[in-house]
Symmetry: C3
Subunit: 362 residues, 3 copies
C-alpha cells in the first residue's frame, strides 16, 4: 500500500469528505460524530489501517467489515444496516455508490500529491515568443511549445512534451512527460494525456502511382486536424492521427487506454471507453457510451452505433448498429485440441455440404 500523505498532514475524515467533490452524491457519516479521526490514505479493506479509508463496492464482501481495521469504510445503506444489526461498530461513510465515492476521495488525495505548482515554467523549456500561456499554466523541463500554441488555465505540460504550432490545450488539462501534439491539435478541458501519446501525426493515405514504379505510392497530404473534447483520458503510447481534409474527432468524456490506434477521420462518441491495444481504421464512426475491450480491431469506413460492446480481441468488419455485445474469437484451448479443431475448420464448408447430403439422403 502506498503512503499517500504524511500522517502529520492527514486531514480529519470530516474535512476530507467536505473537500472531496461529492457533486451529485448523497452521503452521511455513521456515526455522525466520527469525523475527527485523521485519514492519511486509501487502502483495500483487508490491508487498511486506522488512518486509512476503504470501501466495499460489492455487497458480497460485506462480511469482511466485521474484522476490518480501517479508519472508515465507504458502504451502501444496506451494508451499513446489516453491519449495525450484527452489532458492528466500524466507522462508515454511507453512500449509494461506494466505488464512485472512493474515486472522488481518491482524486482529493491525488490533488495533494501533484508535483507541479501552478504557473511554474521551467527555464529549460523552449517556448515560442508568441505562444500564449495562461499565467497559471505550468511547463516542465525541456518541453517545446511552438508558435501560436495556446495553453489554458491550470494546464500542466510535462517534461519533454512537444506542442506543435497553433495547438490549443484547454484549462486544467494534464500532459504527462513526453507527449507529442502535431500542429493544430485541439484538446479540451481537463484532459489527461499519458507519456508517448502522439496526436495529429499524418493519417495513412497514399495514392497508387505507377508513374514512378510498378506498385509505387504517392502520399496524400493530411490537412485535417485532431479535435479532442473535454474530460478525455488518453493512455501511454496511444496514437490519434489527423484527418485527411476533415478532423479526427474524439467526443467528451472518452477514455482511451494505452497503445490504442485511432486512424484519420474517425469519430468517437461521448463517454466511449476503449481498453488497451484497440485499433480503429480510418473514417469509422463509433457511437456514444460504447465499450471496446482490449485488442479489439475495427475496420475502416464502418458505423458502430451507441451502447455497443465489442469483446476483447474481436475483429469487426461490418457495421454494428444495434446496441449489444459482439464477439468473434477462436476459443483458445490446449494446443493439440486446437490443432484437431483447426484442421476441421479448414474443411468446414465441405463438412456442411456433406451434412446436407446426408439429410437429403436420409
Amino acid at each position: 500500500m502506498p503512503i499517500l500523505l504524511d500522517p502529520a498532514r492527514a486531514p480529519t475524515l470530516a474535512r476530507l469528505l467536505q473537500e472531496t467533490d461529492t457533486t451529485g452524491l448523497d452521503w452521511r457519516l455513521d456515526p455522525a460524530g466520527a469525523g475527527e479521526r485523521a485519514i492519511a490514505g486509501i487502502a483495500a479493506l483487508e490491508h487498511a489501517g486506522a488512518q486509512e479509508l476503504a470501501f466495499i463496492a460489492n455487497p458480497r464482501y460485506q462480511d469482511q467489515l466485521a474484522g476490518a481495521q480501517a479508519g472508515a469504510v465507504i458502504v451502501t445503506d444496506a451494508v451499513a444496516r446489516a453491519h449495525r444489526e450484527a452489532g458492528g461498530n466500524a466507522v462508515l461513510v454511507v453512500c449509494a455508490d461506494p466505488y464512485l465515492m472512493y474515486a472522488r476521495v481518491g482524486l482529493w488525495f491525488e490533488r495533494q500529491r501533484r508535483d507541479t505548482p501552478p504557473g511554474q515554467v521551467h527555464p529549460s523549456a523552449v517556448i515560442a515568443a508568441d505562444a500564449v500561456l495562461d499565467p497559471t499554466a505550468s511547463v516542465g523541463p525541456l518541453a517545446v511549445i511552438e508558435p501560436g500554441a495556446r495553453i489554458g488555465a491550470g494546464a500542466v505540460i510535462g517534461a519533454g512534451c512537444m506542442i506543435g504550432r497553433g495547438c490549443q490545450i484547454g484549462p486544467d488539462s494534464l500532459l504527462h512527460p513526453r507527449v507529442t501534439l502535431y500542429a493544430g491539435v485541439r484538446v479540451g478541458a481537463r484532459a489527461v494525456i499519458h507519456s508517448g501519446a502522439v496526436l495529429g501525426a499524418d493519417g495513412f493515405g497514399f495514392a497508387p502511382d505507377s508513374t514512378r514504379a510498378k506498385g509505387a505510392w504517392t502520399r496524400i497530404p493530411q490537412f485535417g486536424g485532431v479535435c479532442i473534447g473535454d474530460d478525455v483520458d488518453i493512455g501511454a503510447n496511444t496514437t490519434i492521427d489527423r484527418g485527411a481534409l476533415d478532423d479526427t474527432v474524439i467526443g467528451n468524456g472518452v477514455k482511451l487506454d494505452n497503445q490504442i490506434m485511432i486512424a484519420h477521420n474517425c469519430q468517437v462518441g461521448d463517454h466511449t471507453a476503449m481498453a488497451a491495444c484497440v485499433g480503429i481504421a480510418g473514417s469509422t464512426t463509433i457511437g456514444s457510451r460504447c465499450m471496446i475491450a482490449g485488442a479489439a480491431m475495427i475496420g475502416g469506413h464502418l458505423r458502430i452505433g451507441d451502447d455497443v460492446f465489442v469483446s476483447g480481441a474481436t475483429a469487426v468488419f461490418s457495421n454494428l448498429e444495434k446496441p449489444g455485445r459482439y464477439t468473434g474469437i477462436f476459443p483458445g484451448t490446449e494446443h493439440r485440441e486446437w490443432e484437431r479443431n483447426a484442421v476441421a475448420v479448414r474443411h468446414l464448408a465441405d463438412l456442411a455440404r456433406r451434412v446436407k447430403a446426408l439429410e437429403k439422403k436420409g
Copy 2:
C-alpha cells in the same frame, strides 16, 4: 475544412498546376482559359468553395459536379465529357488519375506550409562536433545528434529527435519530433518518419541459460543494423529492430502506418504497404508490393511472396508464396450467437468424425 493558404497568397490555378509535380501525368485545363482564378486550398467536393480545388476519383459521384461550388474539379476525361454534354460549366482539370493528381497538388500545398526553413539549427539542439550536417539540413529544438551521424541536404530533424552514433539520413528526409534512431541506422532519401518511431532497438534474442537459474535467459547482443530505402514512410510509435548479425532491411517506397512492429532481420520488399498495428516476427521476408492490412500478425522465419494481400487481423504462420489474398478471422457476431458457435468449434473435430461415421453407416 482547413484553410491551407491565406487567400492573399493563393496562386492562380494555372500557376498551381504548373508548380505541381505532374511527372508522368497528362492533364489539361477545361476551359483552357480558366487558369486565372485563385486557388487557396483543397476540399471535398461537397464542401469546396470558389477558391478551392476538389476532385472526383470515383465516376459514381460525377452527378455531384452539377451543383458544385468548387473553384475547379479534377476529373477523368469521361466525367468531363458527360458534364459538358449535360451543359455543365464547371472548371475542370482533366486527368486520367484524378486521385493521384489530387495527391500531387496536395503536396504542393504541403510544401508551402512547412514550418522549418532550410539550414536552421536550433541552438538548444545537442550536436556532436563531428556529426556532418548538410548546410541545408534543419534541426529542431532539443534534438540530439551523436558523433559521426550524417544528415543529408534538405533533411529536417524534428524537435526532440535522438539520432545515434554513425546514423545516416538521406536528402530531403523529414523526421517529425521525438523520433529515435539507435546507432548506425541508415535512412534513404525522402523518408517521412513520425513521432515516437524507434529504429534500431535491439532485436529480441535470448539464449536459455540454466547456469544462472532454471529457465533463465542470456541476452544475444544484436550487432546488425537497420537499413531503410528511399521514399519510405514510417508511422507514429512504429518500431523496427536492428538485426542480430545482418541488417533488418526495408525496401524503397515501403509505407508503414502507426504502431507497427518489425522484428530483427526481417526484409520488406519495395512498395509494400502495412496498415496500423501489424506485427512481423523475426527473420521473415516479405515480398514487393504486398499489402498487409491492419493488425495482421505474421510469424517468424516465413517467406511471403510478392503481391500478397493479408487481410486485417489475420494471423499468418506459414509461407505464402503465391500472390493473392489470405484471410483468417473468426467472424464476429452477436455475443450469444458467437457463444453457441464457439462451443461447437471446441467439438468440431469430433463433429467431423461423427459425420464420417454417419456417411459410412449410410
Copy 3:
C-alpha cells in the same frame, strides 16, 4: 556483417575467452595452442572470415564446418569429434552449449562498443538537486531526473529519458534514449530498457458516474507503483502501468519485447518471456518461465500458471493453470476458402444440432 572492432584492437582468441563471462560453462580450445590468433568480431558461419568467431548451435549444420573460413567456431563435443575424425583442422571452441557461449562472447564485444564512459553526466541534463546519482552512473543529453530519484552504480540513463520523482534504478541498468519512468517506479539491477518504453503511467480505472452525464466516467486515481526485478529487459514502446493500490510487479529475469502492454496490478513471474505486441489486461498473474508468443492477448483477473506457453495471436480468457501449450487462432487460408468456411462457422451450432438429429434418426 558488422565490423565489431578495429582489427588493430582485436584481442587474441585466448584473451577473448578468458575475459568472457563463462560462469557455469565448461569449454576448451582445440587445438589448445590456437589461442594466439586475433578475433575482431562474430559472424554467421557461412560469412565468417579469419578474424571472426562463428558457432554451430544445431548439429545439423556441422557439415558447413569443413569449408568454413572462420577464425574459430564454437561447437559441441560431438561436432568437434566428428570434424576431427573427418580430418578437419578448424580451430574449435568446444562447449556443451554453443549458442549460450556465443551469447556470452557477444556480450564481451558489446561491452567494448558501449559509448558512454562511466560517471559522465551531460551538462544539458536537468537533474534535481536532491536526486542521488552514484558517481559511476552516466546521464545522457537532455535527460530529466526529478527530485528524490536514485540511480545506481554503473547505470546509464540515455538521452532524453524522463526519470520521475523518487524512482530507483539499480546498478548497471541501461536505459536507452527517451524512456519514461513515472514517479516512484523501481527498477532492479542490470535492466535494459528500450526507447519509448513507459513505466508507471496510470492504470486504466474508471467508475461509472451518471451524476455527470449518462454513461460518464470518473477516474480512479492509481496510487500503486511499478516494481521491476533484476535482469529484466523491456522493449521499445512497451508500457507497464502502475497499480491502483498495490504495485504492478515484474519478476527477475523477465524478458519483454517491443510494444507489449502490461496493465495495472499484473504480476509476472521470474524468467517469463513475452514476444512483441502482447497485451495483458489488469490484475492478471502470470507464472514463472512462461512464454507468451507475439500478439497473444490475455484477459484480466486471470491466473496463468508456471511453464505455460501461449501461442502467437491467441486470445486467452480463462485461467491456464496446467503447464503446456495453449492455442486459439482461426487458421489463415486463401481468402475464398476462408469465406466459405467462415460462413459455415456462423452456422456451426446449427450444423451440430443437425448432425445430432441425423444420428438420432439413424
